[in-house]
Every structure is written in structure tokens, then in C-alpha cells.
């Protein structure tokens, strides 16, 4: 009995910070919806049920879930988490950001080829001088199939203009 209560008090002293962050996020999301819908209901207050009704309900529920999550965080009710290795995640996110920024300027093949190489790097293939050309050639082939044959509108850059 005493041991049980001791472990309980020990865990309750250290709330789960990630879960608390989720609670704050949910609360923030609820606040955002409240703020946005109050603007709406000012515009459409002639009817009881309007475009703001459902967002208000959702926001209230999110607020409730935020409180529930916070309580669960203090009780440490969340499952154990596996250790996360951050560098691979950074490689892949970096690849996605690069693709996003370069898509308009450099075209589909170069931008997505870089994403390809960076993702491979995230999984341990760090020889970028090999993976970048491989990625670009592969993406060019994909571009030729999808933009050429299936007529998908994929942005063209200098490389693609060599073909079309």
C-alpha cells in the first residue's frame, strides 16, 4: 500500500511534458477556432444555427480534450515512447523544405531529386555526389512518364525544357 502510493506520488511529481505540450496545442487550436468563429457569428447572427455553430462545438470539445490530456499528463497515463534519432529526421525535413523552395525555380526533377538524395541520406546513404545525380535522373524519368504520358501538370525547369 505504502509503496504503491509512493510510486504514484513519484510519478505525479513529474508530469509528462510532451503530453502537456499536446494539451497546450489543443487549447491553442480551440482558441483559434473560437477567435475565427466569433468573427463569423458577428456577421451572421440572424440565424440561430449558422456557419459558426459547429466550429464552436468543435472548439469546446477540443478545450475539453485539452483539459483531459493535461490531467492524463499529470497522471503519466501516456505509453512509453521510443528514443528518437533526430539527425535522420532533420535530413528528410531538410529535403522536403529544399524541394518546396526549388520546385518553381529548378523544376520537378532537380527539386525532387534533391529530396530523394536527402531522404536516402536520412537512412544512412550519405554519398550525396552519387545519390543526387541518381535522384535527378530517376525523377526526370518519372517526370517524362507522368507529365508526358499521363499529362499531370508537374512544373518544368531547365532540365525538363531540354526534352519539351
Amino acid at each position: 500500500m505504502s509503496e504503491l502510493s509512493r510510486t504514484q506520488s513519484a510519478t505525479s511529481r513529474r508530469p509528462d511534458r510532451a503530453a502537456l505540450a499536446v494539451a497546450v496545442f489543443l487549447g491553442g487550436l480551440a482558441g483559434l477556432i473560437f477567435w475565427d468563429s466569433s468573427r463569423l457569428s458577428a456577421m451572421a447572427n440572424y440565424s440561430k444555427i449558422g456557419p459558426a455553430t459547429v466550429p464552436f462545438v468543435i472548439a469546446w470539445c477540443l478545450l475539453g480534450l485539452a483539459i483531459w490530456t493535461a490531467v492524463a499528463a499529470f497522471r503519466s497515463e501516456f505509453p512509453a515512447r521510443e528514443r528518437q534519432d533526430i539527425p535522420p529526421v532533420a535530413w528528410i525535413v531538410g529535403g522536403l523544405v529544399l524541394q518546396m523552395l526549388l520546385l518553381r525555380i529548378a523544376g520537378f526533377s532537380i527539386a525532387t531529386g534533391l529530396l530523394f538524395a536527402f531522404t536516402a541520406a536520412g537512412f544512412g546513404r550519405r554519398k550525396l555526389w552519387i545519390t543526387i545525380p541518381v535522384g535527378i535522373v530517376l525523377c526526370l524519368a518519372v517526370w517524362l512518364i507522368f507529365a508526358g504520358l499521363l499529362q499531370l501538370s508537374l512544373p518544368a525547369g531547365p532540365l525538363e525544357h531540354l526534352f519539351f
Binding site: 451572421a44 456557419p51 530523394f116
Partner: protein
């Protein structure tokens, strides 16, 4: 016309050469993508949606049917040859199937999975054809409040009835709802949650969200596990053909699996997993070889695999007849319908019978094609499994972004893809289920529409929602499905429920 005539007419449509070609391309692509480790049926369908963009609605939906069945089949190959318990629908197949493969009986395991899937798919698709018109008749008397109650029930079962936490399931669902209200309100035309950003006025694309959560979130999660050794792919040794004994031990589990899987899929309760677990438990109890269970019993592959496919076909009952997706895969298929301005539901059966029956018939054809295609091509699928992780995931992200760019080549859309990818990654770390977000996004607006219609009819009186007997019963079931698991978990009996969790499809 009777169901039989409709079905014959549908087969006529599906047998047109172009449509046969679409079905063939669909099953091949679906299997090839579904086989890749880490890609479940939901992601398979989301990734391949762009391939169908330029086809006419009928052709595209027929290809889709092939992709859906192919993806389901591919997943079971993966779990037999590569022990990946991450994919929930075929997790049970992995239990016995992988053990069989390790004993050098991978061939018969694949064969019983393939033939079992075929038998189940055949019976369940015919079941779908005969049940659908009946459900449509029932659905015609449904008004807005009954639809709303039905959707509430689907929300509860998808998010919180199964899985290991009511809190996290509901949170996922409400994140989906929050994303669903972004864009122009369908009834009044006012912009909500779009903060003056024109890109947000159209709302958030279901495919963008699904691809981001499943493909990018999953890739980030796998990458963050660091360098783990290569997964061991079991070689298929010896004959792929089943012996006489294999046949006699398989046929009953196939039929039982179908009987268990189909009704579970057809109910608005979601998840192919429940059926597979029930089927596994049944086979374990009825078998004459209990000592083999856990060491590669063929019944343990045949039954669950049949149940899996039968409930995949069953899921199409609420999807086609009520427009109600109960799994993430069905939610993405609904998005596929919507891109052609088609809303599945009782009306679609009346306004576009050729399309619906053509689709049902092509499911039958896809099923035949898979049987013919898969056993001879097993060697090719095994090769796909051996793609090293860096290339595999680099390729997955290539195609994930390709789909988004192809649908909407804007930097903003790619930014959303990245943002939701990170959201999916964080949710994955913290143990939040993904499927409820996707279902919430697509079903949320439909539920809101029905709710507001119901309330408009009653001039704002919310009691109208409970006063129809059908709606009252549905809402009561929904309330029970929310409360009973809460009590079970509080009493420490949650393990059973978390085993039944529908984590992906």
C-alpha cells in the same frame, strides 16, 4: 431490374477491353505498391490516386477497385515473407504465415492466402451486390437526423471504441474536425479558418492529409529509429502449390473467415483487424492441430486472410450505399469519388447505376486477375521486398510528393504536406491513431451538413435529433460504444481493445 440483371449489366461494362486494361493496371500497381514494406492499403490507394486523375470516372473507379484489392493482397505477401507486425490488417497473417515461411513453407502460405483472399473476395463481393440494394432501400427513408446519428456512430467506432485510449482516439478525431472546417462553408459560402489565405479557401485535400500522415509521418518515424539491421526476407523455397492436406485444412477456414469478416466490414464499425483477430481465435479453437499454432499453422493464415479480404469488401457496403467511410482506405476512396463530383449514397444507385454496378463487377474481375497474377509473379514481389531501406523510402517520398504536386503544383500545398507530415510523426511518437484524423476530415463536413439541415427543419430545436426512433437507437449505440470501452479500460481490461485497434486501414 433485379440485382442479378444489374450485376450482369455491370459485368458487361467491366468486360469492355479498356476497362479490363484499367483493372489489370490497377491490380498490378496495387499489388506492387502494397507489397512494399511499411505501405498499407490506405497509403497504397492515396499514393496511386494521381495515376487515375486523367481517366474518365468509370475507368478511374475501376482502376481504383483493382488498386484496393491489389493493395490488400500485397500487404499479406509482405507479412508472410517479412515479419512486419506494423501493418495492422495483416498482423495476424504475420503470426502464422511468417513462421510457415521460416520453415520453408512460404509457398503454401502465400498460396492459401491468395486462394483464401480470392474465395473471400468472391463471396463477399457477391454479398455486397445483393445487400447493397437492400441497404439503399432502407437508406432512402433516412432523413438528415438519421444520417447524422449514423455518422456519430461511425465517428465513435472509428476513433474510440477500439484502440488503447479513448482520449487519444477522440483527440485524433477532433484534429480531423478542426481541419475539416477550413475553407468555404458549404451552406452559406462564408470563409472559415482560412485567415485570408486563398489557398485555404478550397479546404484541405484529403489525399494531401492522408499521404502526409501515412507516408511522410511514417518515413520520419522509421528514420528516427536509427540504423537497425536489415529486415530478413524469407526466401520462398520449394513449390508454391498446396498439398492435398493443405487444401483440406484450408477450405473451411476460408469460408469461416469470410463469414466472420464480411458482416464486420459491412457494419459502420470500421476496421478489417477485428475480423482477422476473431477468425484467428476461431481457427485456434476449432483446429485439429492445436500444437502447430504459433509455429506455422496453415489454418491461421487461411482464416484471417479470408476475413481480411471479406471485410475489405464489406467496407464498401456502407461506403457505396450510405456514403459512409469507416476506414482510412474507404475515406480516401470517397475522396476519389468526390474528385469527379460523385457522392456515393443511395442516390448514386439511382442516378448512375452503370457506374456503381460496373465498379462492383470490376471488383469481381480484379479478384480473378489477382489469383491468376499473383502466384506466378511471387518471385517478382519477393524482389520488391529486398529493396534497401534508403532507396525504398526515398522512392516513397518521391511518389508521395509527386501526387501532391500533380494535384496542385503549389508551394503552399507542399508546405501543408510537410506540416501534416510532422504532425503525423509527432502523433506516431505519442501513440495517437492516424485513421480518425482522415475520417474526421472527410466525414466531418458531411455530418455538419446533415446536422444543420436537421436543425433547419426543426427551426433550431436540438431535441429533434433524438426523437426519431432510428436516430435515437443509433445515438444510443454510439453512446454505449463510447462509454463501455472507457469503463473496460478503467478496470484494466483494455488489452483486448487495443489488440483490436485499427491503426491504419
Amino acid at each position: 431490374m433485379s440485382t442479378f440483371e444489374f450485376l450482369l449489366q455491370g459485368i458487361g461494362i467491366a468486360m469492355q477491353p479498356m476497362n479490363l486494361l484499367y483493372a489489370l493496371v490497377g491490380v498490378t500497381l496495387g499489388t506492387a505498391v502494397g507489397v512494399l514494406p511499411g505501405i498499407g492499403p490506405a497509403l497504397t490507394v492515396a499514393l496511386l490516386l494521381p495515376v487515375t486523375y486523367r481517366l474518365d470516372p468509370a475507368g478511374s473507379l475501376i482502376m481504383f477497385a483493382g488498386i484496393y484489392y491489389g493493395g490488400m493482397y500485397g500487404g499479406s505477401t509482405t507479412s508472410i515473407l517479412l515479419n512486419t507486425p506494423g501493418e495492422s490488417a495483416s498482423i495476424v497473417t504475420a503470426l502464422e504465415g511468417n513462421k510457415m515461411a521460416r520453415k520453408g513453407r512460404g509457398g503454401p502460405a502465400l498460396a492459401t492466402a491468395a486462394i483464401g483472399s480470392f474465395v473471400a473476395g468472391l463471396i463477399a463481393t457477391i454479398g455486397l451486390a445483393f445487400i447493397a440494394p437492400f441497404v439503399v432501400k432502407v437508406a432512402l427513408v433516412f432523413g438528415p437526423r438519421e444520417y447524422f446519428a449514423l455518422m456519430v456512430l461511425a465517428f465513435v467506432t472509428v476513433s474510440s471504441a477500439f484502440g488503447d485510449s479513448t482520449l487519444r482516439g477522440l483527440t485524433s478525431l477532433f484534429i480531423g474536425f478542426a481541419l475539416a472546417i477550413v475553407g468555404i462553408d458549404q451552406l452559406t459560402g462564408q470563409a472559415r479558418m482560412s485567415f485570408g489565405v486563398p489557398d485555404l479557401l478550397d479546404g484541405i485535400e484529403v489525399t494531401t492529409l492522408a499521404v502526409a500522415l501515412f507516408a511522410i509521418g511514417e518515413t520520419l518515424y522509421i528514420a528516427a529509429q536509427g540504423a537497425t539491421g536489415p529486415d530478413k526476407v524469407e526466401a520462398v523455397k520449394g513449390s508454391v502449390w498446396m498439398t492435398k492436406q493443405d487444401w483440406s485444412r484450408s477450405w473451411k477456414p476460408w469460408l469461416r473467415g469470410t463469414l466472420i469478416g464480411f458482416p464486420i466490414g459491412a457494419m459502420p464499425a470500421g476496421g478489417a483487424e477485428i475480423g482477422t483477430f476473431l477468425s484467428y481465435a476461431t481457427e485456434k479453437r476449432l483446429t485439429k492441430h492445436p500444437e502447430e499454432f504459433g509455429h506455422g499453422a496453415i489454418e491461421g493464415v487461411a482464416g484471417p486472410e479470408a476475413a481480411n479480404n471479406a471485410s475489405a469488401a464489406g467496407t464498401l457496403v456502407p461506403l457505396l450505399t450510405l456514403g459512409l467511410p469507416t476506414t482510412a482506405t474507404a475515406a480516401i476512396m470517397l475522396a476519389g469519388f468526390q474528385q469527379y463530383g460523385l457522392q456515393p449514397g443511395p442516390l448514386l444507385f439511382a442516378t448512375n447505376p452503370q457506374l456503381v454496378w460496373g465498379l462492383i463487377a470490376s471488383l469481381l474481375i480484379a479478384n480473378f486477375m489477382l489469383l491468376v497474377l499473383n502466384l506466378p509473379l511471387v518471385g517478382l514481389w519477393v524482389k520488391l521486398l529486398t529493396i534497401p531501406k534508403p532507396w525504398l523510402y526515398a522512392g516513397i517520398l518521391l511518389f508521395a510528393t509527386l501526387g501532391t504536386i500533380g494535384a496542385n503544383p503549389s508551394v503552399f500545398e507542399l508546405g501543408m504536406l510537410l506540416g501534416f507530415g510532422l504532425l503525423g510523426y509527432i502523433m506516431r511518437i505519442l501513440g495517437y491513431p492516424i485513421a480518425p484524423v482522415v475520417v474526421g476530415l472527410i466525414l466531418g463536413p458531411l455530418a455538419e451538413q446533415q446536422l444543420r439541415r436537421a436543425l433547419a427543419i426543426s427551426q433550431g430545436d436540438p431535441s429533434v435529433l433524438f426523437t426519431s426512433p432510428i436516430a435515437a437507437v443509433l445515438l444510443t449505440i454510439a453512446a454505449l460504444a463510447l462509454i463501455v470501452p472507457l469503463i473496460l479500460r478503467a478496470r484494466g481490461r483494455g488489452q483486448v481493445l487495443s489488440q483490436l485497434a485499427a491503426s491504419e486501414d
